[in-house]
Amino acid sequence: MKNKKENRNDNNKKKDYRSNSLWRLTLRRIFRQRNAMVGLIIIGILILVAIFAPFIAPYDPEEVLIGVEDIKKREAPCIHFLGCSEDRPQHILGVDGNVRDEFSRVIYGTRLSLLIGFSTVGFAIIIGVTIGALSGYYGGWPDNISMRFMDVLMAFPSLLLAISIVSVLGPGIENALLAIAIVSIPIYARVVRASVLSVKEQTFVSASRALGASSLHILFNRVLPNAIPPLIVQGTLGIGTAILDAAALSFIGLGAQPPTPEWGTMLGSERNQLFSAPHLVFFPGIAIMITVLAFNLLGDGLRDAIDPRLTHQSIEE
């Protein structure tokens, strides 16, 4: 509450000399969304963990500790602080089926998951924006055909189509990423097309055209910037989905292959040991959940901030 008041005072003070641009208003709204901030903080931490993984992880994630330490495979977590005997080697999250330190593997898994999220969404956005922008801007039969194709892609349950694509391309992390990216192209194409259609007939675009600007110039400098906010929202939510889907593909053996420290793969290879070593299933799952949750929180918060119609805050204020 106090924060809000301060913020408002801030506004009043600065109103005289600072323009309230759309971006600044939006940014302010984002910072006011508690959920978005929580998401952002978690993502920040995850990025730091990914970057500094070698310093955080006590072991090499792929190092088999047979003969190195006196431990058995699938040993339960041993934390000195919580009363585990000091003469046992410390493994915060236990030891996996191949006698590797689970904690180090979970930490390194952050790298791969974030990479998966950002790269698939990046790829899907590039292709989606190209398709959506061109078909929305030029219209006609190419628009019709590409949008019908997008309809067809969306008619498949997404994970199922991804499974089909990977089973054609062959298992492996690159193919899994490609499949997830292909499956998510239609969302971005649609979002971009919709915002292109909504602005392309507006006066500022006509003005630009009257001044003799080329089609490409209008498309990139006048029309597309309007599609950025919804794309950011969709992209953030998409990263969460991509991480979840990639983990699912890895879980069923189509994605990252062992010994890669990928959360889905780790879960999948130990799922039959659930009753004897539940920690090996529990922790990778928690890691997936926290990561996906962070992107979902941020995405939802961004949507509320960018599209004030959906939030009830703006009405109350």
Binding site: V281, I288, M289, I290, L310
Partner: protein, 359 residues
């Protein structure tokens, strides 16, 4: 209405055609010669020649597409490589399990999700609301298979020996087997006839079959085996339905007619259910339709974990064995079902909201 239904049906034909085309070209995109992909590396040139002749692989690609679509319309999905039997037969055996599971899961998701959403909306910003929405946020972020494994660990291992114990895998306890209803009723059907397959298909719905044959033991056992997989499968749809219900209800509860209804002294419950919920229902049912896709995808993972012999599990096994005809057949059937359900959702708008005129 009739006109709209027909037009909407016609409009989904290109989409269905597209689904077939996509799966067809996916199958053709498998690297290497389809003959070697299907019959194995050791297939000789003569066998391959016959194989190509048999499947029309030596004809132009558009003719092949035509043959493929024609086959599927006739219910011929090709043969499974692993089992050397028609995919259609596998579907008849396996589809009922998946449909039963998905149905159970979506019912749970709808009832719990809508109730939670309404309670959240009425008590906005209360502790209940916050807890529900945090729960929903976590629910959409959870890997289905992980939740399934955790549930199995809790209910099958930790609660062993208590009345809350639930079986972690399988469809029925070993030793129990349902008698198909057509045998009980004495409806004889020749094996491998169309009628036989239809009867077989319906008798594979264990719940339906055990109610028909009044075999309560099998019914309770089936339900007991369904609870954990259905719980795991329903979390994502449940969370999304709860969130949508909440925001849609909040939107409606602000309206003047709600205040008017309350002001004229109607009971709160009837205002919420009759005046508010009915108006809030449209976006909710749209989301329900879309979530069916999540259910079908989730079934692959859930069935694998819980050892249910449904199409999802089959899909997983087919992926591991690279049994592409099975993957292709299942994908077509499930995508078609998904399109069909969303078509029904579209058509239901008129019944839910009579103000909508579909012209």
């Amino acid at each position: 209405m009739g006109k709209y239904t027909i037009r909407r049906l016609l409009l989904s034909i290109p989409v269905l055609f597209g689904i077939l085309a996509v799966t067809f070209f996916l199958a053709r995109a498998i690297p290497g010669d389809p003959c070697h992909a299907m019959l194995g590396e050791k297939a000789s040139e003569i066998i391959c020649e016959r194989f190509r002749e048999q499947y029309g692989l030596n004809k132009p690609i558009y003719v092949q597409l035509g043959i493929y679509i024609g086959d599927i319309l006739k219910g011929n999905f090709g043969d499974s490589i692993r089992f050397s039997r028609p995919v259609m037969l596998i579907l008849i055996e396996r589809l009922p399990t998946t449909l039963e599971l998905s149905f159970f899961a979506i019912i749970l998701a709808i009832f719990i999700g809508i109730t939670a959403g309404i309670i959240s909306a009425i008590n906005r910003n209360s502790a209940t609301d916050v807890v529900t929405m945090v729960g929903a946020n976590i629910g959409v972020s959870m890997p289905v298979y992980w939740l399934g494994l955790m549930l199995a660990y809790l209910f099958a291992l930790k609660l062993k020996g208590t009345p809350l114990w639930l079986p972690p895998s399988g469809r029925l306890t070993a030793g129990l087997s349902p008698t198909p209803f057509y045998e009980v009723f004495g409806w004889a059907a020749e094996k491998e006839t169309f009628k036989f397959y239809v009867l077989e298909f319906f008798s594979n719905f264990y719940i339906f079959n055990s109610i028909l044959t009044r075999n309560w033991e099998v019914l309770f056992d089936t339900l007991k085996h369904l609870i954990l997989p259905a719980l795991a499968l329903c979390t994502i749809p449940l969370s999304i339905i709860a969130r949508m219900t909440r925001s849609s209800m909040l939107e409606v509860l602000k309206q003047d007619y709600i205040r008017a209804a309350r002001a004229k002294g109607l009971r709160k419950f009837s205002v919420i259910m009759k005046h508010a919920f009915r108006n809030a229902f449209l976006p909710i049912i749209t989301v329900i339709g879309l979530q069916v896709g999540t259910l079908f995808s989730g079934a692959v993972l859930t069935e694998t974990i819980f050892g249910l012999a449904g199409v999802g599990r089959m899909m997983f096994e087919a992926v591991t064995a690279r049994d592409f005809p099975v993957i292709q057949g299942f994908t077509v059937v499930i995508a078609t079902g998904y399109v069909f359900i969303n078509l029904l959702v579209d058509l239901s708008y008129v019944f839910i909201d009579p103000r909508i005129r579909l012209e």
